[in-house]
Symmetry: C2
Subunit: 196 residues, 2 copies
C-alpha cells in the first residue's frame, strides 16, 4: 500500500457525500440530522465538519456530484439524436424527466436553491445550463433557431422544465400530466424554431 492515506480520505469523503445525498434526497435537508446520517456511514459529525466545513458545505458537494451526473446524461442524449434540433428537444424533455426523480427534485430544485441561493449561479457550476447553452448556440449557428439571447433562452427553458417537473410530480395523475406537460413544452420549443 503506497498511499493508503489519501485513499482513505477520499473514501471518507465519498461515504459522507453518499450518506448526505441519501438523507437529503429522502427526508430533505432540514430534517436530515447530521448525527444520524454520519452515524449511518460509520462516522461522526467531526469528520463532516473537518472535510466540508458545515452542513451547507456537504450539500454543495452533493449538488456538484448530482449536477455532474445530470450533465453527462444530457450530453449523451443530445449526442445520440439524429439531428441537432431533435437532440435539443430530447435534451429538454430528458431534463423534465430527470427532474421527476425524487432525489433530483428534492436536492436540486427545492432544498438546494432554498439553502444556498440560486445554485445555477455558482460561477459556472451548473453544467446543465452550460449544456443547454451549447446546444442553443449551435442551433442558432445552424439557422434552425430564432434569434434569441442564448443564456436567456437556456434559463427560461430551464425554468419551464423544472416547474413542469414539479407540476407533474405533485399531480394526482402523473402519467397524464406528464403527457400534457411534454406536449405543451414541445409546442413552446417549436415556437422558437425557424419555419420554412
Amino acid at each position: 500500500m503506497r498511499k493508503p492515506r489519501e485513499e482513505m480520505i477520499a473514501e471518507t469523503k465519498a461515504k459522507l457525500i453518499a450518506a448526505g445525498r441519501q438523507a437529503f434526497g429522502t427526508v430533505g435537508y432540514a430534517d436530515a440530522s447530521m448525527d444520524d446520517f454520519t452515524a449511518g456511514a460509520g462516522l461522526t459529525r467531526g469528520a463532516l465538519y473537518h472535510h466540508f466545513g458545515d452542513k451547507k458545505g456537504l450539500l454543495q458537494a452533493v449538488i456538484r456530484e448530482i449536477d455532474a451526473e445530470m450533465t453527462a446524461r444530457l450530453n449523451r442524449i443530445s449526442a445520440e439524436a439524429p439531428n441537432r434540433w431533435q437532440g435539443f428537444v430530447a435534451e429538454c424533455v430528458a431534463y423534465i424527466e430527470m427532474a421527476l426523480e425524487p432525489e433530483i427534485q428534492r436536492i436540486m430544485f427545492r432544498d438546494g436553491p432554498a439553502v444556498l441561493g440560486d445554485v445555477s449561479q455558482w460561477q459556472t457550476t451548473s453544467g446543465c445550463i452550460a449544456a443547454l447553452s451549447r446546444s442553443i448556440e449551435q442551433l442558432k449557428a445552424d439557422g434552425v433557431m430564432a434569434d434569441i439571447d442564448t443564456e436567456a433562452a437556456a434559463r427560461l427553458i430551464n425554468g419551464a422544465s423544472s416547474h413542469a417537473a414539479l407540476w407533474i410530480a405533485k399531480s394526482d395523475a402523473p402519467e397524464e400530466t406528464s403527457r400534457r406537460a411534454v406536449k405543451g413544452f414541445r409546442t413552446l420549443l417549436e415556437g422558437l424554431c425557424v419555419r420554412g
Copy 2:
C-alpha cells in the same frame, strides 16, 4: 363596542402575519426566530401556535396574503392593456418584475416551495396561475394563441418567469440582465402567437 372580540382576534392574526412576513422576507424562514418576531409584534409564540398551529401554518397564511396581492396586481395590469395579447405579455413581464422584489422572491419562490412543497398545488390557492390560465384561455378563443394545453402553458410560463427573475436578481448587472431576460421572454411568447 359591539364585537371587540373578533376584531381583536383579527388584529392579532394580522399582526402575526405582518411580523412573520417581515421576518421571512428579510432573514428568511429558517433564520426567523418565532420568539423574536412575535415579540416584535408585542406577542409571544403562544399566540402564533394558537392561531396558526405551527411555524409552517404562519408561512401559509403569509403566502396566501402575498398571492392575493400579486393576483390583484396582475389582473389590473392585463385589464389596462389595449388588447388581449399585449395584456398577456404585459402580465408575464410584470410577473417577472414582481419576482424581483426581495420579499416575493424569498417567500414565494424560495422558502415557500422548499418548506411547503409546490405552493401552486394547494387546491387552487395560486391565484397567479389561475390568472395566467384565464388569459391564455381567452387568447386561444380569440385565435391569437397557438393550440396548447392551457394549464401546461400557464405553468411553463410561470416557471420561466420565476427562474428569469432569480437569474436577474442574482446577477451582477440586474439592469442589463433584466433587459436580456425580458427580450428573450418576449421572443418565447411570440413563438406561441399565431402568425398572419
